[in-house]
Symmetry: C2
């Protein structure tokens, strides 16, 4: 039996939003696993805003995807053939398998997924890395304390929607910034945010002043650009700005836009700290245990938005992420 | 006896570098002290880069100087008449007396100066607030540890020249960034910096890479703009960026320039923290004690640059500060 693999490779480094010509989607034969390897049929692909940064040359927290290389992506799939002692055909596994139908793996970074506990997309969503990111970013980097005001940008996304909910659980006031009235309504009505601000409606700074009259103690930023500047303009004394992402900047073709008012850090005696969740790998268990309790009690809600498609639909779905069209964790279910 | 006071008032909010028309210098009669007040003949005025920020409207760490108000400045002078129980004619005192020849004071924020210990300009320089700023900024905010690499911008200035020396004293590698070959040579030859980089010579990033091959652990920034960006581009993992000032930005007429590569904070898992030395007021004694020891042992050197002039020379001398012409603490000795 010869399997045909559909792969999505990076064909060129995008300038601005990725264009169709930045990708190459091709069918290729795929061989069986070598000794010490196994073969996975990928079923679900995870979308992550940071994917855009992986497509650029230059220094980041992980190596860039090389031109001609299969696009990097986390995913869940089933082992269909194995010559690896720890994995057997039939196992459901999570790993960085890339944007392709079949992947070889030597087991590095691969974990088994218990789909009797929750469906596979939930393992990419509610039990996935985005939620763990929210947990450590807010509580460890941001040091949110009861009674404080937490503002999170990209609040309808996979990380932001959790940040606001955890803020509420630990006794903070939670304010979300998101794009569009519908997303904002969901944050307040479904997820229990104290307030949500639609940045598309304009006048973000005035809205922040209204909803955070005593200033912002923790600003959890996924967006960058003008949204970050608005946050900096309203910091409380001793505030912590958590830099988790900058989705507004990832597709910028020209010069990147740094926060022009960063000297507000001095005015407010505040700090701005970047973090990468991988550094907390040895504490994931602590986070997952706590998060699972909150999910079980209904205090915490995570939503996955699953779209069905082929490997060739990946580029278009990624654009939807950058256009801010998703609510919650975006997952591609491979047909 | 009627005294004539020469005062320098803010006449307009400057756009860019202050122009002569932004100031009003006038002679005015000055009366004797009211009950509970004393009258000071100001002898020395301290220059501070932050003065430029006080001239702007809007939120900062102190209230702006109002239009028509005497320009704010720290200074040292002699009490010439007193109806205050704690101060007597003949006392030499430090306070925020403003840019004027005579000042009334109710004693708020005024301290006695012992000119038998050191000449008055030294109290504004080596024993003054700039040196204390360097101490807490480097050791408390920057948490510099032995063996680490410290880079300071504005290294020839009153704060920066001390930062590098304290870095050396506590066992760090000290690299200064300054403008001009002469200043750079002094940093290395006189003040013991391990290296100095002339930002006017261009290629700042390559120079930083050469002198800080393992990255920067503490970047102490007095300058902002492209210098800050160069620092961010070379951060070591877990670096601390200390935001003390942004002299390159204070006179910017258009939009301020934020650090476009601030996401390096995420790449390096680094923090950027603003601070104001006034918050350490209850620990000044600790700093002065330690600094006095280092000064006495010769490990630490501070230099004052004293220019003589009248109150009316203040505006031009301030421009010299912004043009980076001073080495060490700039002081105006009133003739």
């Amino acid at each position: 039996m010869t399997l045909v693999n559909t792969v999505c490779r990076l064909a060129a480094r995008p300038i601005g939003l990725p264009k169709p010509s930045d990708w190459e989607v091709a069918d290729e034969p795929v061989g069986g696993p070598a000794d010490g390897e196994f073969l996975v049929r990928v079923e679900y692909l995870s979308f992550d805003p940071a994917m855009r940064t992986w497509m650029n040359a230059g220094r980041s927290y992980v190596a860039p995807v090389q031109i001609g290389e299969v696009m990097r992506a986390g995913g869940i799939g089933r082992v269909i053939d194995s010559r690896h002692p720890d994995f057997a055909a039939g196992d459901e596994v999570y790993g960085t398998f890339g944007v392709q139908r079949y992947a070889h793996s030597d087991g590095s970074g691969v974990t088994r997924v218990d789909t009797t506990l929750a469906p596979a997309p939930v393992h990419l969503g509610a039990l996935g890395i985005s939620v763990i990111t929210a947990y450590f970013g807010l509580l460890d980097v941001g040091r949110a304390q009861p009674g404080q005001t937490v503002v999170v940008s990209g609040a309808a996304g996979s990380v932001g929607s959790i940040v606001g909910q955890i803020a509420r659980i630990v006794g903070c006031r939670a304010i979300g910034i998101a794009g569009g009235e519908q997303k904002c309504r969901r944050l307040v009505e479904e997820l229990g945010f104290d307030a949500a601000i639609d940045y598309q409606a304009g006048d973000l700074r005035r809205q922040l002043k209204m909803h955070a009259p005593n200033g912002i103690d923790v600003f959890f930023d996924n967006v960058g650009g003008e949204v970050l500047e608005a946050g900096l303009s309203r910091l409380a004394r001793g505030a912590r700005v958590v830099i988790c992402g900058a989705i507004s900047q990832y597709n910028a073709a020209g010069e990147l836009h740094g926060p022009a008012n960063y000297m507000q850090l001095l005015v407010a005696r505040a700090s701005m700290t970047g973090f990468v969740v991988f550094d907390y790998a040895d504490r994931y268990g602590e986070a997952v245990g706590q998060l699972a309790n909150w999910l079980a009690s209904g205090e915490l809600r995570a939503r996955e938005q699953v779209v069905a498609g082929d490997v060739g639909d990946f580029p278009e779905a990624l654009l939807a992420l950058f256009r801010g069209e998703n609510t919650g964790k975006l997952v591609l279910a491979l047909r």
